[in-house]
């Protein structure tokens, strides 16, 4: 019998939600564990096996010099490295520090900022090491996570759509809330994967899966203006969980980029 492939899960600056997605696969978890060795997953197990690992899932962004070094060690130990979630693929909500002076934030949160060691920026994993696949979302979709694990362990391409959320609304049969109700929605420029949850709950998409392939953000800007969205509101819509993604950053910059 061949040895089971080894899976490692690594955490950087993040909320733990994306790795929790694996433990949230209640129906599949024990089956997954039959086919792989959970070799390094501190949130779930005390047992840690040494690398190399066949697949590393990386959650979180790089915000400290220690983590900048640690991700390189992770890369060297990993046959495949897949980032999971908006923090690891785009810097996460904490990348909002990139739009200001981080020292100002430290003074707000900590009484003795001299005890804190942090970098000026929050950056995605791909800014530091080669990444084999980026799974988006804040949080990721657990079915997509299972697809990615399955694909990499079988050495094939994950079936993850680069389309926009609009396509998922059509599939779900949700009437367009922007057209029908004038509700501001980032669905046209946001990558699918969540299943278009927000519009099905009478709410505009807020872009937590980041930009789709070739998003037409300036066209969306025109739509938003027509339905009365202010420049400040529009900028803030792009400056959330994927603020550091180029297409979102640039569109936000065009609408009062000097402000947060």
């Amino acid at each position: 019998m061949t040895e089971k492939p080894k899976l490692a899960v690594w955490k950087f600056a993040s909320c733990d939600g994306c790795q929790l997605s694996l433990l949230d696969c209640e129906d599949e978890l024990l089956t997954v564990a039959d086919h792989i060795t959970i070799a390094n997953f501190p949130e779930a197990s005390r047992a840690v096996l040494d690398g190399p690992y066949d697949l590393s899932l990386v959650e979180g962004s790089i915000t400290t010099s220690h983590d900048r070094d640690r991700i390189k060690v992770v890369r060297r130990q990993s046959k495949f490295l897949v980032t999971i979630g908006a923090c690891a693929t785009a810097g996460g909500i904490q990348a909002l520090r990139n739009f200001t002076d981080v020292r100002e934030f430290m003074d707000i949160v900590y009484a003795s900022p001299e005890y804190i060691s942090t970098l000026e920026t929050s950056t995605p994993i791909s800014a530091h090491v080669n990444v084999d696949f980026e799974l988006r979302g804040c949080p990721i979709n657990k079915n997509q996570l299972l697809e990615v694990i399955n694909a990499f362990l079988n050495e094939c391409k994950p079936n993850v759509s680069p389309n926009s959320v609009c396509i998922e609304c059509k599939k779900r049969g949700t009437a367009c809330i922007m057209v029908a109700h004038g509700t501001p929605c980032m669905g046209p420029v946001t990558q699918a994967g969540c299943g278009a949850i927000c519009p099905a709950y009478n709410r505009g998409c807020y872009g937590c899966y980041g930009p789709m392939e070739t998003p037409n953000t300036s066209s969306l800007a025109g739509w938003m203006k027509d339905i009365g969205v202010s420049e400040d509101e529009f900028r803030r819509m792009f400056r959330t969980y994927n603020a550091e993604e180029a297409e979102f950053r640039e569109e936000g910059d065009r609408h009062g980029g000097e402000n947060r």
Binding site: L20, S45, F105, R260
Partner: protein, 436 residues
Amino acid sequence: MSDSHGGGTRTIKVDCLARVEGEGAMYIKIRDNVLEDVKLKIFEPPRFFEGLLRGREFTEAPDITSRICGICPIAYQMSAIHAMENACGVRVEGALRELRRLFYCGEWISSHTLHVYMLHAPDFLGYPSAVEMAKDHPEAVERGLALKKTGNDVMTLMGGREIHPVNARVGGFYRVPARSELSELREKLLRARELALETVKWTATLDFPEFEQDYTFVALRHDDEYPMNEGRIVSNKALDIAASEYDDYFEEQHVDYTNALHCVMKPDGNCYHVGPMARYALNFDRLPLEIQDAAKEAGLAPICTNPFQSITVRAVEVLYAVTEALRIIDAYEPPEESSVTVEPKAGTGYAATEAPRGLLYHRYTIDDDGIIKDANIVPPTSQNQKMIEDDLRRFVPTCLDMADDEIQYVSEQAIRNYDPCISCATHFLKLEVDRG
């Protein structure tokens, strides 16, 4: 790690604590068979939420703060929402209030069950993980997964998804469920109630170290409910205040070895205990009689002071949350509107709600346009961090005859008694035992 235990100095270190949410370490130093130092270090990198909230709209705080913690996002959403409504002078009542409680029940069920079966039980039964435990105890792990899933089902129906749900807003929800959607959930909850009762009984079969403590418990207390979204902040030592007075009685201190703030009571700087044991001790009389009976049958007195038994207290709270969810569903009449309008008003709003791990305090100052000028968030693990160290300071001396790896094992278990969420506390942990 030293292997000598008699004289000299022993250092026990755990560089990365397992089965906690986030990154932390433990350091224990024993000199001449006397415990000299204990530190719980949180090296999870800081993410500066209070800073990045400034300049955002008051309506954005629930979604942004939910990203502090993927394990208890609803707690953040609920504390943020109630604080903003407090600032704007709005109270949300009736069916919307009940739906918020239903939503929170989902998170209590899921988060507590995750901890009971997947993070804490392996300590008692001697396994590195629930997956390993499942090989010898498949019924238990499968029961845990099924129960946890029902919690997630509640969150997914009410919130769109279980992690960072999208449906809660200042004023209510974007969409409220139809009665027919809840009836399907009701069937799952009926099954979950049996699983939850079995869980209470199962946790009672575990071996608990003798470790009764004289805690200062702090939790919410409400006139007629087991507390979730509102109530006075009370203790078993005469504290009884409104959430708006929190800053007068508690303070966060910054210590050099950790990225989390230590929270203490003013003016003495004493530590205190938040979470399931505190809620239970201060609100036992608010539990339905059949749940009080289930707790008693599982060996719990109305006040439980052994933190290792917190696993049973969590199981009791899961049973309560399932029962409460069923009560809400059975009485549900959909509200006419999914939310009430909340107009921004310059001022400061305060709220404390009961996250699965304990009291979660939010305070915001907003301007007339609803722009956030100041934010302060105190998560449960910041409040418990000093308490955890205090427990270790009293617990480790009872185990000095053990080998270092055994001390490490039971000390980690003592830390996990609190279900610490390190991601929350930095807004936490690595074990080092130094026997010098």
